[in-house]
Symmetry: C3
Subunit: 258 residues, 3 copies
């Protein structure tokens, strides 16, 4: 049985995630399941895509990535299984796989149409339970992707804010804020290193770039190349998002300052 890694916006307050795992166990009793996260903000496709891209490649080759951030559940949006050289991805075709797929060689995309691989009764509000979890479980058991439905050749795209070259330097923005209040930007390590910059500017503040959080004193801000290979803004022992009032979309300037 292939492992199944699950990412949703269902939260852990209700029975939704547990029910999906019950469905999986019924179909693929020995499939190991791992939660990536279920705390994506309801309907936030971009945050889900970001979390998946950050985590997926640390899983064993062959893992089925089951992703249900699905604000359009019950509408005409398609459900798909995507096969790449290394992984399988299952979920709604709404862009949520697009950041992860940048790092993968695509093999095929098939629609989830075959009723044989869905629950007998399919609701209009919980395809995670009725369509996506069964699909992941059957894939885990070894059912080939082409058994699920017709092939399709493109996926709904998702916009990613690229860094912009300006007169004052490279301008990036905050794209994800984590549990510790660390603010991850869209500035990749390669461009930070190429720039030769040793500081960044956030609003009026100039912040030094270092190797790790504890290179500055407790309570002081610092920019580091974080664990997903992007520049992030942190406070040693503190919460940068709160202290510096940073949000998704807040601007960062990478240049040579003072």
């Amino acid at each position: 049985m292939k492992p199944i890694a699950i990412t949703t916006d269902f939260g852990l307050d209700d029975w939704f995630v547990g029910t999906m795992k019950g469905v999986i166990q019924k179909i693929a009793p020995n499939a190991p399941t791992v939660d990536i996260t279920h705390a994506i903000k309801p309907g936030d496709i971009r945050a889900g895509a970001f979390a998946l891209a950050a985590a997926y490649r640390f899983f064993p080759i062959g893992t089925v990535h089951l992703v249900v951030i699905d604000p359009g559940v019950g509408s005409e949006r398609a459900g798909v299984v995507i096969e790449t050289e290394n992984y399988l991805f299952v979920g709604p075709d709404n862009g949520v796989f697009s950041f992860a797929l940048r790092g993968e060689r695509l093999r095929s995309i098939h629609r989830l149409e075959n009723r044989k691989y869905q629950l007998t009764e399919v609701s209009r509000t919980f395809h995670g339970r009725d369509i996506f979890a069964p699909a992941a479980a059957h894939l885990s058991r070894g059912v080939p992707a082409n058994q699920f439905g017709a092939r399709q050749h493109e996926l709904v795209p998702l916009e990613w804010p690229e860094p912009v070259i300006t007169e004052s330097g490279l301008r990036g923005e905050v794209v994800y804020i984590d549990h510790f209040g660390n603010c991850i930007t869209n500035l990749p390590a390669s461009r930070v290193l190429a720039s030769g910059a040793t500081r960044i500017k956030v609003g009026a503040k100039v912040i030094p770039i270092h190797d790790c959080y504890s290179a500055v004193k407790k309570g002081r801000p610092v920019a580091v190349i974080g664990s997903v290979g992007l520049l992030e803004i942190a406070i040693n022992g503190g919460n940068a998002a709160k202290a510096m009032k940073l949000k998704i979309g807040s601007c960062i300037l990478l240049g040579v300052y003072g």
Copy 2:
């Protein structure tokens, strides 16, 4: 080893759930465990009963449902194992199994009395760890229910608010509010369909009944038959409970409106 599905009000902030799983692993090392939810409001037996009823039948036949919403821990309330045609249920006899049992053919109820199937030291405040988790693990290993203690013939009942027929139509109420703010009512699909109603009334508001959330524009309210077979009130892309100030017990009228 039979799978064990766990529902509690312990939250995930402390070591409580993890410790129960450690206890299970010691007794039944290969028993697969699945969390239904641990976020039932402390001591809210009705919410626990609802979550269990919504989820339990999606698990493999033979699953042990371990449920610890136990405000009376350490008092005289009994611990029980309930056997039905399809499942085993373990936990306090306080009504928490009653909604799930409506869908099951009851076989037997036994008390958890046999000290052989409890931890050596039993605290007065954490029977989840000391009595219920060990019982679930021994059941998973195949110990028959009648080994745990004396048979009993009834369970503590739990009240369920039934819909009421009024002059203005069928009156239901909100019985559960989920993570998305969707408000699940006590109106079953069968009665909604039989009524021929296409709208419901919530306070002064008239809301259309549709097949899925996205049948209305973003931000608009809609009533749908949800994934547990009950009418629910939602806002497409929004949080109905917050926007419409709905609570557990808020009234809903199902009739034929303007």
Copy 3:
């Protein structure tokens, strides 16, 4: 494969814990993993040490306890594997193991230095993924502790507030507040029993000591010997921390009152 029990301050909002489990699955595909908790307050080593001490001994002999509360990640603090008569512990050497180790017979401490047992790329901000999870997985597979690096003979200590004998009785303090608002003190059962006290004093309030929460009426305060063997202050059916405005460090007096 030895089971791996995981305790962190990573929360469940991001992909951190899921990624660690992906790394573990790659190295030790059949190692069972159990979460103790991931909700330790960011960087709160004492709370992490307390949760670990409360839970670790309920796990099967041989379990690898993977603990990542690591405010000094990327700095000079060492990573270690600790072997005791019954368990293995992996994480940063910052005191987080010290309460658990009081109950264990220490065998050895080795540093996590061998690059062979780390991910190929090691970040400066996420040793949970790059160093500690791989170490736990290799230990689960049976790699001996002495393969990880040089032996060391001491661990960074962690201060524990001991009860103090005063003229008015034994003075303790609140050391942990759980999900239910129960306030766990540093007063062990043995000293409570030896004192012969039947009441405690919290500020101006005198609270009776009983066997279980429900020995008092709903809404009334009660002190009980909790499930970790320490005196705790609770409200039957309520939240003691909120109602009585108790915090970590709040004083408790054990004497013979009124």
